[in-house]
Amino acid sequence: MQMTGAEIFVECLKREGVEVIFGYPGGAVLPIYDAIFQQSHFKHILVRHEQAALHAANGYARVSGKCGVSLVTSGPGATNAITGLADSNADSIPNVCFTGQVPLPMIGTDAFQEADIIGITRSATKHNFLVKNVEDLALTIRQAFHIATTGRPGSVVVDIPKDLGFAKCDFVWPEKVNMRSYQPRTSGHAGQIKKAIKAMLEAKRPMLYSGGGIMNAQGSAALLKTLAHQLNAPVTNTLMGLGGIPFDDKHFVGMLGMHGTYEANMAVSHCDLLVSIGARFDDRVTGRLDAFAPDAKIIHIDVDPTSISKNVDADLPIVGDVGIVLQQLLDELSHQGGVPDLEALKLWWQQIDEWRAKDSLGFEQSEEGPIKPQTVIHKVHDITKGNAIVTTDVGQHQMWAAQHYGFKEPHKFLTSGGLGTMGYGLPAAVGAAMAAPNEPIVVFTGDASIQMCIQELATAYQYRQKIVVVLLNNAYMGMVRQWQEMFHESRFSHSYFDSLPDFAKLAEAYGGVGIKVDTLDELDKALEVAFGSQESFVFIDIAVAKEENVFPMVPAGAALNEMVLA
């Protein structure tokens, strides 16, 4: 059956099971937008900036477990999308982005709105394609989804010249994708699995450390919990792995790394076996490398072989999908019928409990105020019963959310971990709201971060999304200020604003409810309004303690056991 390229685009997305895409029209994608207008298979969400389309697709992907999809035009539309592509790629989130391109005969002529998107996005994506024949379009789209969602997931760009939208050919749907050059390994090597279980049973001070990989493999969080319980081993999560084990599970010792808990960082520093599960030893986690887990044998489970022994040498590498490998480990554990060294573990837990007693996340809230940011996070946790989908921007508020919200399940904490993108939170919440319209969705943000993508309040309003934006307003770029205070002798170079907008009025101007909060009483009332039945988004601008810092902290370049507690 003959179809135009634009019709093939729609048909392929339908067959890929796409339910929603995020985009912004422009000249080069008008044939595709015309085909979208005439179909009802998937929804199109109009964002207000292409970067937000990518973040929204990312948020949608993380909550739904499906691939995020976005559509932007050529030139500036595509270059605006770069940050979102790099963000998804850094955090291994499946995201396919279709970019319009000038017509084929005009490529390379510096035509209006032309950019070398294949060149520009090469290092920001897992892979990219320029489609040069309409006959290749269906196969390319199929390959793009396959690459984005398998192996270590990531972002993939498909650049489609405008004239392909009009060109016609017979539609052929490739049922199977078989790429000889791309065959990601899914299950771990049986011999390595055996060795890993032996090491786990022999360990006297084991430690499990899981990252974003625990999210990508559906169902693997439950397997992690089972493994931790069977081994009676403590578990720590990276920022990306929060929710990988319930925050109130007794085996969970909190997040590790730069702003991790004292007990997590001390346990990693003193363990004799560290099992990394879908985490990649980011510098924000390891601190000074030569002092990282100095006594530990390291087992590294990752679907991406390049992550293994990149930063920290693995004694036992296991390449494979985290979910499959965890199941293999559990099978092997029951097959061997072994029990861990219970006597040694008793001592290990005693030690951990001593570290726990430091209460490194403790803070004091005076009744008179000012409002501590940590208080706000705790109150939101209580009112949402810890069940909200939480998105954040980047900075102090992000770390407070990670430390204090308390995540029960995976896929509930959406944050920009690898790239650290300010402006991520609000559009990610827009995407999350498309995936889970009936769940409470909270954006924790800062006065600097929110201004990076604040225009997406318009999107939230247009689609009547009940997002609650909680702005922890300290009138500073908080984390920049904290670093300047600690490492630059309090020279606060350009880390504050001379003129902040009236955020509550701004939110109202965008169609939502805007509330300004200065006192604890006002805070309780505002949260009640926000999580009551609202027809639109609610934006709460909360004046918090201006110079509150995020503690505990491992200063950059220090070892994990050299934490500053307060």
């Binding site: 294949i118 090469r122 892979h127 050059s181 991406d304 022994s309």
Partner: protein, 160 residues
């Protein structure tokens, strides 16, 4: 240490840039790089020479493998292997240089009496170096040299 890496890739546009981009993005240096289609026209074979310690080379191999169009990567440095590079040398034809070149095993592929000759020399990188220094630099007009292509010895082929 010097490493010779052979790579099979899908023969499609942009692959070379992906490989070169991988090296530049991570601050690795490519010493030489040769590429051409194989007997199977859908596959190209590259021979790449780079330097680095074992850890860096391991990362390079993994990163190369991670590129979607890369089919196979092999570091042949530690295997018994052969390397051959080509040198073309344009020389002012004086003092019996032409004869000297021919004696070294070069083939004369162009010649204009008393003015110049072009010699073609193939050999291992060391042999090419030795040949190059055997010709008086004063009389060399220009030189063009490929990096080596490589192949491990033995009956087994490096194919898809």
């Amino acid at each position: 240490m010097r490493h010779t890496i052979t790579i099979l890739v899908e023969n499609e546009f942009g692959v070379l840039t992906r490989i070169a981009g991988l090296f530049s993005a991570r601050g690795y240096n490519i010493e030489t790089l040769n590429v051409a289609p194989t007997l199977d026209e859908t596959v190209s074979r590259l021979t790449l020479v780079t330097r680095g310690d074992e850890r860096i080379i391991e990362q390079i191999k993994k990163q190369l493998n991670k590129l979607i169009p890369v089919i196979k990567v092999e570091d042949i440095s530690h295997m018994v292997h052969l390397e051959r590079g080509l040198l073309m040398l344009k020389v002012i034809d004086v003092k019996g240089l032409r004869k000297a070149a021919e004696t070294s095993g070069a083939k004369i592929i162009d010649h204009e009496a008393d003015s110049y000759f072009i010699a073609e020399f193939t050999g291992s990188p060391e042999e090419v170096d030795t040949f190059l220094v055997s010709i008086d630099a004063e009389y060399i007009i220009e030189a063009s040299r490929t990096g080596p292509v490589g192949m491990r010895r033995g009956s087994k082929g490096f194919v898809v």
